[in-house]
């Protein structure tokens, strides 16, 4: 159970913190509000998962960096808004399949939370799909999207990095979907969203992520460490304070 919770919640909380960094400096007011709202959701979803196995604060503020199971792409800095949008759409497509699988979990805590979360993920997904779709209506927009995709394409698939523990959570009554099915569904939907882009072949990507020993394996980037020091900063000032 713990492995599955960390697999689900660590992604949410790390991306949620990155999203927060756009609050007040988004590209336009409505999008600023939207992303701030989505950030709140991601962090809340993480919290809902952590509370199944303990106190959410303990997992976020007291765990060592290498114990966070998040994907490499989610810890990277925001760079620009195009990167933020593409990363978010990749993640939301990836996560939506996980949450959908949890709807069939035999565990009530997971299943009931999934029922709640999926309603919110629905409109996140819609938001990013519409946004990317609008950008790609013009040749200029397609070029901008392509540039970012070219630069990060394999990093984006680091969502599918695994270690032994993560592989073990798949295909169980708790999380009834196989890794292969998850990848297959993801690959198809992401190809649909970026129909103008020629993605690497499935085999090539799977081979890449199979050998990847990055963030999900505990090898944290400098960017993660900076983020970690930021989100634990207030906690570290007075660890036992009750806020």
């Amino acid at each position: 159970m713990n492995e599955l919770i960390f697999y689900l919640a660590d992604d949410d909380v790390i991306l949620g913190y990155r999203d927060c960094e756009w609050t007040g400096v988004g590209p336009f007011l409505e999008e600023d509000l939207a992303l701030s709202s989505i950030a709140q959701d991601e962090i809340a979803h993480a919290s809902m998962f952590y509370e199944i196995i303990g106190n959410p604060d303990d997992f976020v503020y007291k765990r060592e960096p290498k114990l966070f199971k998040n994907a490499y792409i989610l810890e990277l800095e925001n760079y620009d808004y195009v990167f933020t949008l593409i990363r978010h759409l990749f993640y939301d497509e990836f996560d939506y399949i996980r949450i959908s699988a949890l709807l069939n979990s035999n565990n009530y805590d997971l299943k009931s939370r999934a029922e709640k979360i999926i309603l919110e993920e629905d409109y996140h997904l819609k938001h990013f799909r519409v946004f990317i779709n609008r950008i790609s209506r013009k040749e200029e927009g397609i070029e901008i999207l392509k540039q970012t995709l070219n630069k990060f394409i394999f990093d984006l698939f680091s969502l599918f990095e695994t270690d032994e523990k993560i592989l073990n959570v798949y295909n169980s009554p708790l999380f009834p979907i196989s890794y292969e099915e998850h990848f297959e569904k993801f690959y198809e939907s992401i190809k649909n969203q970026f129909s103008f882009y020629s993605f690497p072949k499935k085999e090539e990507i799977l081979n890449y992520v199979k050998n990847l020993k990055s963030s999900r394996n505990g090898n944290k980037s400098e960017e993660f460490m900076k983020l970690y020091m930021t989100f634990t900063e207030v906690y570290r000032i007075e660890p036992n304070a009750k806020w």
């Binding site: 409505e30 509000l33 939207a34 709202s37 709140q40 959701d41 962090i43 809340a44 979803h45 809902m48 009530y108 299943k111 009931s112 939370r113 029922e115 709640k116 979360i117 309603l119 919110e120 409109y123 938001h127």
Partner: protein
Amino acid sequence: MQSGDLKSIILKKISRIRDPEIPTITILDLGLIYDIKIDNEKVIVEIRKTYSACPALELIKLSIENDLKEIGITNYEVKWIYSPPWKSSDITPEGRKALKDAGICPPDEEVCPYCNSKNVVLQSEFGPTKCRMIYYCNNCKNPFEKIR
């Protein structure tokens, strides 16, 4: 005391708690109170979240706990229930009216709360709080909020 009596006392008391962000509406009319159970003398109040990240929720939970203490209950738990998930259609007719009084359009209709015109347009799916979207009324030229 019969457990049925106790339940109705609790319900009557906590029904009066208002949404901290929209004070015209009670948590009963919002559809947040799911069930009150009494199990081996322990009172369990089951409540639902409107939106997972709504910051008002903890305040509501605290208000319920305070109410239970005021009634003299010491053995209690206020518990979040996720299934079936809360939907905006759980808002009662009284609740819908209370929202309109606060200048907020209830869910499942697109009517300006100021002039009742249907000539309105969605401006942003994301409003000032988790549960509200922003609309604009082409008739009276007022922006207004609508429950998602």
